[in-house]
Every structure is written in structure tokens, then in C-alpha cells.
């Protein structure tokens, strides 16, 4: 067993943990004033910049808010559709429905993001505008609403798969027992189904939350003037100020560690 695990484990340690450690260490490097090159002179300036400025605190709060909103939107979409496919659909329809819902995964990320861009394009009094404007005469335009909608569309399949697996594991007998004891369908859902689904939802939310928190490309495509933590990291990296970019990444690293530990308590990892 150990022999089989050895190579992947070494890979994980060196490439994943090692590069993360290097990243964090480089946050304490400084830039040469004149040439702008990275030097290994230790400094706290970058970390102070990334953590000491209120502008970045609100940026991080906004990023977490967007990631949370995307997760909630994915869940709201995935719960009924997964329930329908798992419990109500005829067996022959099941497979087709699952494939249909996962189909977007087979198209490229950029293709989908630009597709939504074409939908949200705001246009102006001079003309132009996207599908929404053409159909209903109104579009939220580019901004946080478009970012949340696009990310929810992108990551929905991950939540769906996880919740669907949860429904599949739910023993029919428990639902029958609940009905025999006189519970209506809403009560059964609240008291029997939901508690058993929590680990699946937690597992799905890890995907939707972490992928949203790290995203910066969707923001560039449909975000208009909106900016999330990923954009600021990219911006610092291209400045080029690699140490400052590294300091900013401590934010999402910390947030994800906290998020994973909470989701772990909810049983997300027993369910993967």
C-alpha cells in the first residue's frame, strides 16, 4: 500500500506543499527600488500592505461574499434538480438528465464565460447590447451580479454531482418510516433529508466556494469595473511585484484553510 502511495505522496509534498511554502516565504522578500527586481532581503512591507489597508479588507470581504453567493445559488439550483433526477425521474430518463446537466462541463471555461458575456452585454442609448437586452429590454450589465450568475453557471455541475450522490445514498426506508410516522413531505425534507444531505452539500460547496474565491478571469470577462482578490493578485504579479502578490495570496490560503476545517467538521470528507 505504502509503495503505491509513495510516489503520489512525494509529488504532493514537493510540488503542492513545497510550492505553497515557497509562495508564503517569498511574501517576505523585497523589491530593488531602481530595477524593480526581487531580492531576498527580508521585509514585512508586503504583508503590512496586504493586511494593513482597509481597502483590501473590504476587497476580501467582497470576494468572500461573492463566493458565498455563488455557493448559495448553486445549492438553490442543485437541490431541486438533484432531487428530481434521483427520486422522481423514471430510470430511463435519469441517465439522460444527468448527462444533460453535466454537459456544460464539456465546454471550455472561456467559451462559457464569453457566452454569458454576450448575454449580459449592456449596450447603451447609442445601441448594441446582448441577448438579455434584446429579449427583455434590460440587463444588469457587467458587474458583481453578472459575475455571480456566471460563476454559479460554471460551478453548478460540481454541486449537482455531490448533492445527487447524497440523494442516491439516502435509504428509501427512512423516507417511508417518516411518512408512516405522519410527517408531510416538507417535514420529511427538513428533518430527515436535509440533515443527511449536509455532508454532501458541504463537499459540493468546497468546489463552488474555492473555485469562486480564486477566480479572476470571469471577473475580467463579465465583471466590468468589479475586482476580486484574484484580480489584485494578478495585478501585483504583473506589476511586477511577485512578493506583494505572494502576500495577497495569504488571504485566500487562510480563508480556504478555515473553510475546509469547518466543512470537514460537517462531514464533507467522509463523503468525497
Amino acid at each position: 500500500m505504502i509503495g503505491l502511495l509513495g510516489a503520489p505522496l512525494a509529488w504532493l509534498l514537493v510540488v503542492y506543499v513545497g510550492s505553497l511554502a515557497l509562495l508564503v516565504v517569498s511574501a517576505f522578500f523585497s523589491l530593488d527600488e531602481l530595477s524593480g527586481r526581487v531580492t531576498t532581503d527580508p521585509t514585512l512591507d508586503n504583508v503590512a500592505e496586504a493586511f494593513g489597508e482597509s481597502a483590501y479588507w473590504s476587497l476580501v470581504a467582497r470576494s468572500v461574499g461573492v463566493a458565498a453567493a455563488v455557493t448559495v445559488a448553486c445549492l438553490a439550483l442543485a437541490l431541486p434538480s438533484a432531487y428530481y433526477v434521483s427520486r422522481l425521474a423514471r430510470p430511463w430518463a435519469k441517465r439522460g438528465l444527468i448527462v444533460a446537466m453535466l454537459l456544460p462541463l464539456w465546454a471550455g471555461y472561456l467559451v462559457k464565460a464569453f457566452g454569458l458575456r454576450a448575454i449580459f452585454e449592456p449596450g447603451s442609448e447609442v445601441g448594441g447590447g446582448g441577448l438579455l437586452r434584446a429579449l427583455v429590454g434590460w440587463s444588469p450589465g457587467f458587474g458583481y451580479a453578472a459575475v455571480i450568475a456566471t460563476l454559479a453557471y460554471l460551478w453548478y455541475p460540481y454541486m449537482l454531482l455531490s448533492v445527487y450522490a447524497g440523494f442516491e445514498r439516502l435509504p428509501e426506508s427512512l423516507l417511508d418510516a417518516s411518512a408512516d410516522l405522519g410527517a408531510g413531505s416538507l417535514r420529511t425534507f427538513r428533518s430527515v433529508v436535509m440533515p443527511m444531505l449536509v455532508p454532501s452539500i458541504a463537499a459540493g460547496s468546497i468546489f463552488t466556494f474555492s473555485l469562486s474565491l480564486g477566480d479572476y478571469i470571469t471577473v475580467k470577462i463579465v465583471g466590468g469595473t468589479a475586482q476580486l482578490i484574484g484580480n489584485i493578485i494578478e495585478r501585483a504579479l504583473l506589476a511586477p511585484n511577485q512578493p506583494l502578490a505572494a502576500a495577497f495570496t495569504i488571504w485566500p490560503i487562510g480563508i480556504m484553510i478555515a473553510y475546509l476545517s469547518v466543512m470537514g467538521r460537517l462531514g464533507a470528507f467522509e463523503n468525497l
Binding site: S35, Y56, P122, V126, L238, A239
Partner: protein, 384 residues
């Protein structure tokens, strides 16, 4: 003028000092041109290296490839900062660097001195562009001048009368409020400084790249106040092009090449120079100190400043050529007049992109100026 000379001296001696201390200059210039290596990798501004794939009539790469056997690969740099980053990777042979990149590249040893004897077309370059602080350090040339121009004001011709003032870009009462397109790079802070030179002369700004803390804070405040009326911050030139075509922005800072591309797709736009003086660029082709194809890179430098190619790029990008003989070869015979190729007075009103340093570039010695690293931080914060 005296101030300017002192500035130049200060910057030059600073760079020279670093070179002396670190021994980190780009090595020696090449002494003799060999055979081409079969390809050359360039980092360039959009529109600087065209092989006919954008517009079949716009092509000064194919004849170069045929004549030298050097296949041209180009990577578009969207900002000076990105170009510096790309050149540090060591994967590229040459770069079209603006003044806010050249000194950083030279100081870090990313680019090598050039041997001008190997670039015969250099003889025809306008004297006004030779031996400038952004292309020559301590008498050592680090590249050849590409051309120069000013950042323009683009506007939608159906959205009202032509704007003429930078105030329309900043004022909350701007008729274009909400539809304004701003260049998303730290160097744009200089545009805010030009706005302040026009509207708050009491701040005493004389050079938009030499801002002391008070002036700098005022510029940032102007940019904060501008935020609510901005419809788009563009980092990729294609983003602004798309927004102009869709009509979602109706006023913005732009380059002529974007206007050409958007107009080609039917956008109802035009571009003008605002009356207050503008930021601009004077670009330099430089060769990487780690170039894997140095011979092809030298051939490219000579080609891009040759009369025909330089006329082509100047006209397509919308700038003044660097080669004096190019003026006779442009499709529009008035191009050099329109873009003030020989008009040094005009360019004295254009503030070329340059890297702000602690030592004030306007020659003031009683205050410290805000260095570029803090421009970057302030811009990040503004955009966060």
C-alpha cells in the same frame, strides 16, 4: 531646460551607480553580425508587429521573414509592467519598450547594450530621438528609437459634440459619466496629474511623473472621484475595442491603433488630442541580454526602423515615425505633419511615459517624490 538636464544627469548617474555596484549590466554589445538563427521572439505593443493577419494591407513582417529567414513570433505586451515581466522570463529576444520600462530593464541587466554599427538604418533616425535618457545610459546605447506619440481621447461620434478637454474624463458633471473608459495601469496616475495641472494650478505640478506626496495624494483623490463615472478600466486593448464597438463606452483614453481596429468593425468613433497636454510614449526597441537569437534580433531592429517598415507601423499605430525617410513613404502624405514627426515644440507638450523615482524628475531637490513602487500600490488600492 536646465532642470531637465539635471534630471537626466540624476537618473543616468543613478543607473550608472547601480551598474557599477552590482556589476549587473547587460554584458557587452555584439561586435559582429552573424547568420540568422531562423527565428526571433518579440515582445511588442499591439500593432507594432503586423504580418497581414489583422489586415492584409498591413504587413511589414512577411518581407522581413523572406529576406532574412528569421521567422517572427510576437507576444503582445498590454502594459509596460507586463513587458518588463515578460522580458525577465528570458524567453524573448527583443522588446518595444516605453520609457517607463527601459530604465528598469537596463538597471536590472535584462537588456544588452546595442552596437549601432550593426544597424545601418539608425543613421536616418531623427536627431531629436537619439541619445535620450530612456535609450542611452552613460553614452552607451541600449536600443533604437521606434517612434513616438500621444495618448488620445476617443469618443463616440453619435453621443454628442467632440470633447476637447481632459476635464470630461474626470468631472462628475461629464456628459459621458458612466460611459468612460480608463487605461488600467499605474502609469495612468500621470493622466490625473495632467488634469490637476489644468484644474488646480496651486498644486504646482510641472511634470506628471514627478509628484511629491501632496501632489500624489491629490491625484489619487481625483482618481477616487473619477471612479463613479468610469464604465470600464481596460487592460487589454481588445477589451476597449469591444466596448467601443458595442457602444458601452463613449469616451476614453486610447491609442490610435484601437480606434483603427474598432472603426474597421464599424464603430462610430473618432479620436482627438485634448488641449491640456497629454501623456505619451517614445518607444525603444531593445535586445535581451539573454537573447537566444541575437542575430535575428539585430536584423529586426534594423528592419523596424527602415524607412518602409517604420512608415507602415507609424501609420498603423498612429504615431510619429523615428526614421526621417519614412515621412516620404506613408500612404497618407501628410502623416508626418499630422503626427508632428519633426515638431519638437509639439512633443514638449507631451509627457512621455517614464518611471517615477524618489529623486524628483522635475529637478526639485527640497522634496522627495513618490517612487513607482508606490504608484503601483496606490493603483492596486484604488482598483480594489
Amino acid at each position: 531646460m536646465n532642470k531637465r538636464v539635471r534630471t537626466i544627469l540624476a537618473v543616468v548617474s543613478g543607473v550608472a551607480l547601480l551598474g557599477a555596484c552590482g556589476g549587473d549590466d547587460g554584458g557587452d554589445a555584439m561586435s559582429e553580425l552573424g547568420d540568422g538563427e531562423g527565428q526571433v521572439n518579440l515582445v511588442a505593443w499591439a500593432g507594432y508587429v503586423e504580418d497581414g493577419s489583422t489586415d492584409p494591407a498591413v504587413d511589414w513582417v512577411s518581407d522581413f521573414e523572406a529576406a532574412t529567414g528569421c521567422e517572427v513570433n510576437v507576444k503582445i505586451g498590454n502594459s509596460s509592467d507586463e513587458m518588463v515581466e515578460l522580458m525577465r522570463s528570458g524567453e524573448y529576444d527583443a522588446v518595444s519598450a516605453s520609457g517607463d520600462a527601459t530604465l528598469r530593464l537596463i538597471a536590472a541587466g535584462d537588456v544588452a547594450p546595442v552596437n549601432l554599427d550593426l544597424i545601418p538604418n539608425y543613421a536616418d533616425v531623427f536627431e531629436g530621438l537619439k541619445d535620450k535618457p530612456w535609450n542611452t545610459v552613460d553614452g552607451t546605447p541600449y536600443g533604437v528609437p521606434h517612434g513616438r506619440g500621444a495618448n488620445l481621447l476617443v469618443y463616440n461620434t453619435e453621443a454628442g459634440a467632440a470633447p476637447s478637454s481632459i476635464v470630461d474624463m474626470f468631472s462628475p458633471e461629464s456628459p459621458y459619466a458612466g460611459k468612460i473608459s480608463v487605461y488600467d495601469a499605474p502609469i495612468y496616475i500621470a493622466d490625473a496629474a495632467i488634469y490637476l495641472m489644468a484644474t488646480q494650478p496651486e498644486l504646482g505640478i510641472t511634470n506628471p511623473y514627478a509628484l511629491d506626496q501632496t501632489q500624489f495624494d491629490a491625484a489619487i483623490a481625483a482618481l477616487e472621484a473619477q471612479k463613479p463615472i468610469v464604465g470600464q478600466y481596460w487592460a487589454l486593448y481588445t477589451d476597449q475595442q469591444a466596448a467601443l464597438e458595442a457602444g458601452s463606452v463613449t469616451l476614453g483614453t486610447t491609442w490610435q491603433v484601437i480606434v483603427n481596429l474598432a472603426k474597421g468593425n464599424g464603430a462610430k468613433i473618432d479620436a482627438t488630442l485634448h488641449s491640456e497636454g497629454a501623456t505619451g510614449w517614445s518607444d525603444t526597441w531593445m535586445i535581451s541580454s539573454k537573447a537566444k537569437h541575437p542575430n535575428c534580433a539585430y536584423m529586426w531592429l534594423d528592419h523596424i526602423i527602415s524607412p518602409q517598415a517604420n512608415a507602415g507601423v507609424a501609420e498603423w499605430f498612429g504615431e510619429a515615425p523615428s526614421n526621417a525617410k519614412s515621412c516620404a513613404l506613408t500612404a497618407n502624405p501628410d502623416h508626418c505633419t499630422l503626427f508632428h514627426a519633426e515638431d519638437e515644440d509639439y512633443f514638449s507638450n507631451v509627457y512621455y511615459w517614464t518611471t517615477p523615482t524618489k529623486e524628483c524628475l522635475d529637478g526639485r531637490t527640497d522634496v522627495e517624490c513618490v517612487p513607482f513602487s508606490e504608484w503601483v500600490n496606490a493603483w492596486n488600492k484604488l482598483r480594489a
